[in-house]
């Protein structure tokens, strides 16, 4: 049975959380400075975020999207200073 298109299926959500454009990113700045120190002067900018994998039970794609977006807004990302995006992969 193919995972997609047949109603309910399990999902792997890959969530990327990054500092908003224009917000100071102290971690990214520190890593960039370290790269410079290690001999990578070509690094012009570096923004450091986090990657979250969320495994979901069998629900519809629509519902998975809504729920994951909600999780991001409520907990995984801080909407005041962070952006997020995610994709969903069907899983068995």
């Amino acid at each position: 049975m193919s995972a997609e298109g047949n109603g309910a299926t399990g999902w792997l959500a890959r969530v990327y959380v990054t500092p908003k454009q224009g917000v100071l990113d102290p971690q990214g700045k520190a890593v960039q400075q370290s790269l410079h120190a290690l001999g990578y002067p070509e690094v012009l900018d570096l923004r450091l975020g986090k990657y979250v994998e969320v495994t979901l039970a069998e629900i519809s794609r629509e519902s998975a999207e809504t729920r994951v977006r909600e999780m991001c807004e409520r907990l995984l990302a801080n909407g005041v200073i962070e952006d997020f995006r995610f994709d969903l992969e069907a899983s068995r």
Binding site: P19, K20, G22, V23, L24, D25, P26, K29, A30, Q33, N78, G79, V80, I81
Partner: protein, 742 residues
């Protein structure tokens, strides 16, 4: 890229009134540029200009033999002898902390730290005053966790101990919390640096982090406009703090101010609220000079930042310096050694104007005076709210508690009296090794490096009292601070204040403000403690409803001999327990009436500043002569809570019980829980009682032996008999419970 055209509508969007816009056109003799409008809007905002408060603040006592620097600089400074000075200030970061609690509170700490080391002082102690809404309010636990974590993050990372503070809960702050941060630093008294831009021809240096779009209009919009549903759109103005960069900035600045380099430095100021604009205009204003800035040279974090944004950005961890002509490279070299940007961005002139160019184009050309001393000063109308008849509290209508022990336990576990350990265990209170008394006693005590002396600090507010009567509330808060210091053995020497109020355009808010300032004046005159620094935070209001008047003070005390410090908890069985001061039948405004009867009302306890001063003298003399094994002032929760705290607040697990007998004809609940002023509970060895009595008699302070330190139970007459462990458990576990934690 061209800046928008300026019209009256643009001015209104910047929070300027029609009158103010007309004034600007008169001052300039033309329509301002977009950049100039931005400069006027921040400099004339309440936050920078103190336009509603200036006329009142001028009345405060600000001089004294110890005062090296009063209000008007980055922070105040007091001489503590032996060539050492302490520099301190308290400041609000209320609105940013409500929008983003972690970063808002963190950058509040960062900002107040910069105010201190800008003066050349090394910060040695952080404290804070926090007011949150009801614990049951859905947002409160989130805000408490965020604010506390943010304060801990910044202070712990930069390595300055957080040694004390206060936390209050009240429904009045449900939609507008208060986060006030205090820092104290030490400096050689002849090496205090000021924010001057002397000497036309000298260079203006930008040092620290690069400029981004952080907090544009933070000062004018966030701090000076009420909250409403649209606050969502103000979100991008929140700044993110970087304590590790601030640590570099701190060390670089202090190195610059050391004897090896200081000849190069003319003046220095933190780029705080309204960033480059306020730092440059204020420095020029103090020296009667002008400043030319070349904005093309400002170090940038992003590729495109407009001149308007550069002028108003509130990016953190930046300083503006004026250095002697010819010293630029030496100073730049020093900052680069610390991995910090350092660029010459301008020159001091004798034009008495702020001029800024960007890519060869003149974008700002404004006389300095109208931006600073000549900024609008308002004497806003003030009137007591009409319906504010003091709600009476009729004692006869209040049923006495059925079980006094249970009433005491309830109070110990109440939001405003329970242990704050949940909060302060997240703070590093010992980093630096100078902390003598950490959070949890009447006042924090820190060693003065290089001396035998110590500094005691207490941060206090009495919001519930102020809600009933802002004058009496303010006087009470100052007295409470002074008692806290004296109970620690210290002599109160000076005050900083943070006046948190609602919308000053409302006459009733202005009335509250005036009353509080009058109270601050009267109390500081009585205690001989000059006000050397401070901050006003107006517009603490959401959807038309103001916070209760919430003046906060930070009081600093001096212990000539650090070893004479006293803590509040009982030390050993057999010691006599002594009450200094007199009990009165006063329950008005008390924590007990609020907790047990859910009422904020009544006539506030009578306060006599002369009585307070005499009590302080006895406490200090007792500490100096080594007579006091413990000392604790009687305040929120009354005598019974003070006694319970003496039993359970010990830093070690060695807790002590007490047997107390009170002989007073008062109603038992008023006797146990009333919050009459002018009282302290001390314990002393029996052989010292005679001397203690002499001291009290000489100062005409009533003194009575009311019991003995003994065993593991607190027994008060026939009313209370509780195990020390049971009290400790209820008291220490309550805070986590408020936040819905186990």
């Amino acid at each position: 890229m061209t800046a928008p055209q300026v019209t009256l509508a643009t001015a209104h969007e910047h929070g300027l009134t029609t009158d103010e816009f007309a004034q600007i056109e008169t001052i300039l003799g033309r329509t301002p540029t977009f950049e100039e409008l931005g400069v006027f809007s921040v400099m004339w905002s309440e936050h920078c200009s103190y336009k509603s408060s200036r006329v009142h603040l001028k009345t405060l006592p600000t001089t004294g033999p110890r005062v090296l620097q009063g209000p008007g600089e980055n922070a105040g400074a007091l001489d503590v002898g032996d060539g050492v000075a302490v520099v301190f200030k308290i400041e609000s970061h209320n609105h940013p902390s409500f929008v983003e609690p972690f970063q808002g509170a963190a950058t509040g700490v960062g900002g107040i730290l910069r105010d201190i080391f800008t003066m050349g002082a090394r910060p040695i102690a952080n404290l804070n005053s926090l007011h949150f809404g009801r614990p049951e309010h859905a947002r409160t636990p989130f805000l408490v966790r965020g604010v506390v974590a943010g304060i801990g993050h910044y202070g712990n990372c930069i390595g300055v101990p957080t040694v004390g503070g206060e936390v209050h809960f009240d429904p009045g702050y449900d939609h507008n919390i208060l986060v006030n941060a205090f820092t104290l630093g030490v400096v050689a008294s002849d090496r205090i640096f000021r924010a001057a831009a002397d000497g036309p021809g000298n260079s203006v240096l930008y040092v620290g982090s690069k400029t981004g779009r952080d907090g544009i209009h933070g000062a004018s919009l966030l701090a000076s406009a009420e909250f409403d549903a649209e606050s969502e759109t103000k979100r991008p103005t929140v700044q993110v703090g970087d304590p590790f960069t601030e640590k570099l900035l701190l060390e670089a600045c202090l190195e610059l101010m050391s004897p090896a380099y200081s000849e190069h430095l003319v003046g220095i100021q933190d780029m705080g609220a309204a960033g480059l604009t306020s730092s440059s205009t204020e420095m020029a204003s103090r020296s009667g000079t002008g400043i030319d800035l070349d904005l093309s040279r400002v170090p940038l974090r992003e590729r495109v930042v407009t001149p308007y944004e550069m002028l108003l950005s509130e990016s953190q961890e930046r300083m503006l310096l004026v250095v002697h002509r010819g010293s630029e490279e030496i100073v730049q070299e020093l900052f680069r050694k610390w991995d910090l940007d350092a660029e010459v961005i301008g020159t001091v002139t004798d034009s008495q104007r702020l001029r800024a160019t960007f890519e060869g184009r003149l974008v700002v050309d404004i006389p300095i005076d109208p931006l600073t001393d000549g900024a609008p000063a308002l004497n806003r109308p003030a009137a007591e709210a009409a319906e504010q008849e003091t709600p009476r509290l009729v004692l006869a209508d209040l049923p006495e508690p059925v079980d006094y022990g249970e009433a005491l336990l309830q109070l110990l576990a109440s939001p405003n009296l329970c242990s704050r350990e949940w909060v302060y265990r997240q703070y590093d209170a010992y980093v630096g090794g100078g902390t003598i008394v950490r959070p949890g006693s009447d006042a924090a005590v820190v060693r003065l490096p290089g001396t035998e002396k110590a500094i005691a600090i207490s941060v206090d507010s009495m919001a519930r009292f102020c809600a009933i009567d802002p004058y009496v509330g303010m006087v009470s808060a100052v007295a409470e601070s002074a008692r806290n210091l004296a109970a620690s053995g210290a002599e109160p020497i000076g005050v900083t204040n943070c006046l948190n109020f609602g919308n000053p355009e409302k006459p009733e808010v202005m009335w509250q403000f005036q009353q509080a300032v009058q109270g601050l004046h009267d109390a500081c005159v009585a205690f001989g403690t000059p006000v050397v620094s401070g901050n006003v935070s107006f517009y603490n209001e959401t959807e038309g409803s103001s916070i209760p008047p919430s003046p906060v003070i930070g009081m600093v005390g001096l212990l000539e001999d650090a070893s004479q410090h006293v803590t509040q908890w009982f030390k050993g069985d057999g010691d006599a327990i002594v009450l200094l001061g007199r009990n009165h039948e006063e329950l008005g405004g008390s924590e007990y009436v609020a907790t047990a009867h859910h009422q904020v009302r009544g006539t506030l306890p009578w306060i006599d500043l002369d009585v307070e001063r005499r009590l302080i003298d006895v406490l200090r003399a007792g500490a100096r002569e080594g007579l006091l094994r413990s000392a604790h002032d009687v305040s929120a929760g009354g005598l019974a809570i003070a006694l319970a705290e003496c039993c359970i607040t010990s830093e070690s697990s060695a807790r002590h019980g007490a047997r107390i007998d009170l002989e007073d004809g008062l109603r038992p609940d008023a006797l146990l829980f009333g919050e009459s002023h002018g009282r302290a509970v001390v314990s002393a060895r029996r052989r010292h009682l005679t001397r203690l009595r002499e001291l009290a008699d000489r100062a005409e302070v009533p003194i009575a032996v009311i019991g003995e330190v003994r065993g593991q139970r607190l027994e008060i007459g026939e009313l209370v008999a509780l195990g020390v462990d049971e009290m400790h458990t209820r008291w220490s576990e309550a805070f986590a419970g408020l936040l819905g934690e186990e």
